[in-house]
Amino acid sequence: MLTKRIIPCLDVDHGRVVKGRKFQNIQDVADPVELGRYYSDQGADELVFYDITASYEDRDIFIHIVEKVAEAIRIPFTIGGGISKVEDFRKVLMAGADKVSVNSSAVKNPQLIREAALRFGAQCVVLSIDAKRNNKGSWDVYVKGGRENTGIDAIEWAKQGQDLGAGEICINSIDTDGVKKGYDLELNQKLSSLLTIPIIASGGAGKMEDFAEVLKVGADAALAASVFHYKEIPIVDLKNFLHNQQIPVRRV
């Protein structure tokens, strides 16, 4: 039986893992390769590394980290951040990444999704969407790290992403991110029922029940950062908890 996936997310700046709270107050937590290996040993199903470095010269440091991660771990991992061209996909895939996530750059140029899917296969294209509730009962797509509202409907954008060839959608809810009060269940449930590609829920995990809830409403995977980085929820315990909730998971 296909299991639901638990995915720790590591934001990397200047070669180190950090975690923002509402995209602010970033604190350094650890070495990406060591932390990646630790999570893999603990039973993480995949890893996501986001390059949050702004400067061009640090891109090379990051590519080097991708290579080191590929040598160190034997589970799939996704790279995101600073991907704006097909050539960027090629670079990180050749460095050993399994999937590449695009966000603002795909909003700006939706054809990037199609071009990358045709060239490297849909399986490696993850469309990451930062979504925030509006007062009309729907969700808007935000870009630039959650600072700019595009006015685009998040569910429509997710559907378009699927049609363009994305293999997976990672939906990050800005309202719940960093607040640790649970994932946006309504948004994840809507997307899961409307789309035929897998959905990764992101933003809001605070306790083990939060993971169970979002996976029960249809998300195929749940992503989190701080609860793992600060060892508030050990992945081994989380998997046992989910198993006891009759949610199919891979336990190590």
């Binding site: 296909l2 199903d45 895939l93 050993g96 399994d98 490297f120 997976e168 590609i197 891979r250």
Partner: protein
């Protein structure tokens, strides 16, 4: 030495790295002499079926693969590389494969399932083989694919995973082996499977 066929279908380094874990030395190559000299050949691959076959033709590799398979050398296809071992695929058209294992590649079409079949699924053993020594139904491997193999003879399936249908996960016909999932990304279960592969070729 294991030849890892390089035909421009994604990163092959991860396969070489995982072979290194079990003490096998992988050489990424499209040189026919290296294929002929290898103890076994691995055909990896991600992307579209027709592009992959086009590239095998472009690099003039099909005759070398045929000759080595005919000699009895072990050839193992991984992911798309496994699908190429069959007669044909219906991925975006109808395309011929290498025809080492009778059968065809079709798309998942059950209502309500997510496509691609992406993530960790467990292996159910269909028939005994040294390839699945120490492998049981609690062993999960990492899949990512939208099309699956429908072999003419289900006895060619060593292990399968349940995903709306019995999805062939490990296939074997004589000296030709296929793994639909990624052993190089399947943590300690992948390690066990590659260890079994090593024992089979030595």
């Amino acid at each position: 030495m294991i030849a890892i066929v390089d035909y421009d279908v994604g990163n092959l380094k991860n396969v070489a790295t995982a072979l290194g874990d079990v003490g096998l030395s992988g050489t990424i190559t499209r040189d026919k002499k290296v294929l002929d000299a290898a103890d076994a050949i691995i055909l990896p691959g991600v992307g579209a079926f027709s592009d992959a076959m086009d590239n095998l033709r472009k690099f003039d590799l099909i005759d070398a693969l045929n000759a080595n398979v005919k000699k009895g050398k072990i050839l193992m296809g991984i992911c798309l590389g496994m699908q190429l071992l069959f007669d044909k695929s219906y991925e975006d058209g109808e395309f011929s494969g290498l025809s080492y294992i009778p059968g065809e590649i079709v798309k998942f079409d059950a209502p309500g399932i997510k496509i691609p079949h992406m993530g960790w699924n467990n292996l159910v053993i269909n028939r005994d083989s040294p390839l699945v020594k120490n492998i049981g139904t609690e062993d999960y491997v990492y899949f990512v694919h939208s099309y699956y193999a429908k072999p003419d003879n289900f006895d060619d399936v060593v292990a399968y995973a349940e995903y709306s249908v019995k999805v062939p996960a490990i296939v074997k016909k004589d000296n030709v082996i296929g793994m639909q999932f990624h052993p190089e990304k399947s943590s300690n279960v992948g390690f066990k499977l590659l260890t079994n592969f090593k024992e089979m070729i030595s």
